[in-house]
Amino acid sequence: MQVSYNWLKEYIDPGVDAAELGRLYTAAGLELDEVVSRGRGLEGVVVARVLTCDPVAGSDHLHLCTVDAGRGAPLHIVCGAPNVAAGQLVACATVGATLPGGFTISEKKTMGLLSQGMLCSQKELGLADDHSGIWVLDGYFADGTAPIGMDIASALGLIDDVLVIELTPNRSDCLGMLNCAREAAALTGRPFTAPDLSYAEEGPAVAEEIEIQVEDPVLCPRYAARLVKGVRIAPSPLWMQNYLLAAGMRPINNVVDISNFVMLEMNQPLHTFDYQTLAGKQIRVRAARAGETMQTLDGKDRIFRGDEILICDAEKPICVAGVMGGMETEVTEATTDILIEAACFNPVSIRRASRRLGIPSEASMRFEKGVDVASCDLAARRAAQLLVKYCGGIADRGCVDVCAPKYANGFTERTISLRPARVNEILGTEFTAEEIAAVMRRLSFGLDELPGAMLVRIPSYRQDITLEIDLIEEVARLMGYDRIPQTLPLNESAGGRSERQKLLLRLKNLCVAQGLNETVNYSFISPRESDRLRLAGNHPWRDNLTITNPLSEEQSVMRQTLLPGLLNTTSRNQSRRNLDLRLFEIGNIFVPAAEAKAETQPEEVLTLGVVLAGGREAAWPQAAEVYDFYHMKGLLEAIFAELGTEPLTFDRANEEYLHPGRSAEVRLAGMRLGVLGELHPETAAAYELSGRVYVAELALPAALLSALAAGNRPHDLPKYPASTRDIAVIGSADIAAAAIENLIREAGAPYLRSVRLFDLYDKPPVPAGQRSLAYALQFRSDTGTLKDKEVDEAFERIVQALAENYDYRLR
């Protein structure tokens, strides 16, 4: 809301300047955004008259004008505006004047012609957005009274301060200047004066000239109409134009301006019809019928769905209620008789209609937030008064006022009982009943005393106040939030993380301990990621939960894998020459429900994703290192070992996006957690990745986390010493190393405690197709020191088993 300080002063003298008033508003919840100064800094811009205006030879738009700017001899000014003409009153920036844009006027030559000033548009003066031509001041002054040569700021009363207020949704009442003034009165304690609405009604009774029917009082709880005839369309008075401009609206003509002025003053949108164009002199308010059409005054043909509210005459729709008027009944230059509509429409219907038709307006916005049904007719009266006063109209007598049956007995005041004890109980304050009552009185709320409470009568314009808590908020707001003490709640409870939450945090820290860097990627991805991953057409990851209103296609489906986010991050880093990448992310993936997936919550599975790409550069004394499959595998093994699980197991994986020979499924105690491996070269190419990239993605379902959290590793040190033996065996390279190791463990039981591969050799003299594996074995017993013989026997069992099962021989 743009609150003109000059306008506000019509109703209250706040006794403080605009900045201080803004501070008071802010402290009370009407947040001041800024104070915009209007009409200042325009010294040297004067009222002037164009005496002559001739086209400049050789130009298609320039005119050379002689201008009387009250400076003795007429000024010669070259003007490029399309609307300049001899005889006009204009705003002329004289030499030395500085315009709000910072441009200082000086004498200059244009196409060889001396120009001694500039004729200005409203935009150039910082007054409005209108830049269609120069600002023509004709009509602002009675004939012969134009103060030629006077600074326009004083001549036109332009100097004002505009408080730009950010209104919260509950205070839409302050979309009306009167309520802003009432609020100022409550904050400053200064008296508020409502405008005088009286005027002479010299015409016949309105009811004799128009018939109004409201079909559905739910859609339109009140419809008030007044009629003013014989108006003359002209520019509105200068003060009104200034107020409208300050409020951010463009003046049009006296009838439209009055309608907007009253809306801004009373927060009640009005509509004006050209009475003579109404067929049958009837107004019907009804729901639209599906498929019905009408041309709105922006010239567009609108087709209705059926939930809009229409204003119709005896024959046809003439206005989309609360949203936009129709072409045929619009007030034009030729209009003389004005039917004023001041109505209250169902906010939800207006909201839907304005959204759907794509025409939000100052009026629809106010209807959506809800207008004060009790004061519709006051706004109609105000408009009639101004039409009589400023347009030469003659008002009909009275008003046709159709109210919903529930208002048959008038508009009853809402009353709410307010308990001072409750106020302090909620706020933690010690305000007295008298202090609380004083706040109610400052707000002009009526008060009746009850035992232990006060009965508060709420004025109709404060629709936001319906509960005791709303009044408690008013007390807090007006007493000042700085009066709220600072205490700590009196309750004792042991807070903390759940076991699962602790484990998750530990997992993150373990990843960091492995030298991984945590990333955060968006949960929504592009549907095209499936193609980049080379997923088969029926891959479940192609069936994603889809956002109906995404910001872009790139962010339109919920991920079922962390990989696209991580790979795009990798690619982005590589393009910036960040080549040593060890990344991880822990976040949810979203597995759609089997049926009705858009209406059923997906399964959200917490997932760990890891990327290793590139490697470490040589950094003396360490040699360069390129990440490979075994870096990734070792990293996962280390993390899970640290969590105290049994060892992970690995089987060959078969995923479209992974290298078929360098990828594995990861299992824990038989449960598949996910995969790791080298990215398939074509997937890597689709993400524009360079070098071999290793990824891992493991689900961390709740069951796993709970199991891990419950687990506890024994930490006793062994009592007896261990014996170590090395073994080197040679055999077929087709036997998986894990099979060999498992066999060693089996054969070496029960004393074999650890098996560590320390060398693998598959180059000559080892024959092709074979390899040599060397393990360090550690034997230990929990019941005594092992004898050499016992160790030798175990070693021999291992040698035999390897020979028998896999034809592996000692080297």
Partner: protein
Amino acid sequence: MRQQLAEIEARALAAVAAAASAEQLAELRVAYLGKKGELTAVSRMMGGLSAEERPAMGALVNQTKDKVEQALSARMAELRQAEQAARLAAETIDISLPGRAPQRGSRHILSLVQEQIEDIFIGLGYRIAEGPEVEYDYFAFEALNLPPDHPARDMQDSFYFSERMLLRPHTSPVQVRTMQKMQGELPVKIISPGVVYRRDDDATHSPMFHQVEGLLIDKRVTFADLNGTLLAFARQMFGEERQIRLRPSYFPFTEPSAEVDISCFNCGGAGCRLCKGTGWIEILGSGEVHPHVLEMSGYDPEACSGFAFGMGIERVAMLKYGITDMRLLFDNDIRFLHSF
């Protein structure tokens, strides 16, 4: 004999002193103290002495042996020390060469700040509650006093899958779920951190961001308690000298509602660029839980009351660590990640 001993002693000591290696000392030991050594030979001559002379002479021989023995050990120790010193000197390295760099991992700044916020509230006795990111309209809006067509719920603000289901625009649904699960039990004392989504994307907004919301409901929890709790938070997060300021505001699920500012930690409140000259920085939204919200989740607003607050983790992180562009937080440039 005495003279002979003195002469041997002098010669032996001189030789020991002159010895330059452990090997030479070993040879000297043999030469003087060995089975065929000179001093051994002298002691053998003791037999030729009278019974009167023998004890005195015996003592003298032993004294001489001890002296030579001590000299040998002392010289040996000297030589060892010198040898070690020489070895250590030879092992001198260039200490100005770089150290071996371990591979350094890092937590994401948002994850770190979330943990910091959690820890502060855990210290104040809060539990951490979590809930789904894809939510039903009922939990995201309706149960929070935002019925359909409420003006404060603009469809433009949230990402929808259908009329019924959306990406949560705040973590408040977790509060509703917690209250409904606790079925009237008191106190409800939780914070709910997590990912949230809104349809905004510019230098100060990300369509996905993180929030921590808090909720305390008990027999009598006042607006003043909210004020004090948030003061405690602000001081732990931003420094002990911080003040906070409540400003009236509006949220459908709280009343009275307040925007909360902290005194600027950059300028101490004098006014600077960070606080746009006001001395205050807006940090979170809060208020007393609206009676409708309590009722809808089975709590009697006459029997209990509570407060709720919510803050953006991005904002806290950016303020605390002086990050000016929100996009950095989701860009995951390794150089940025490494800086925390």
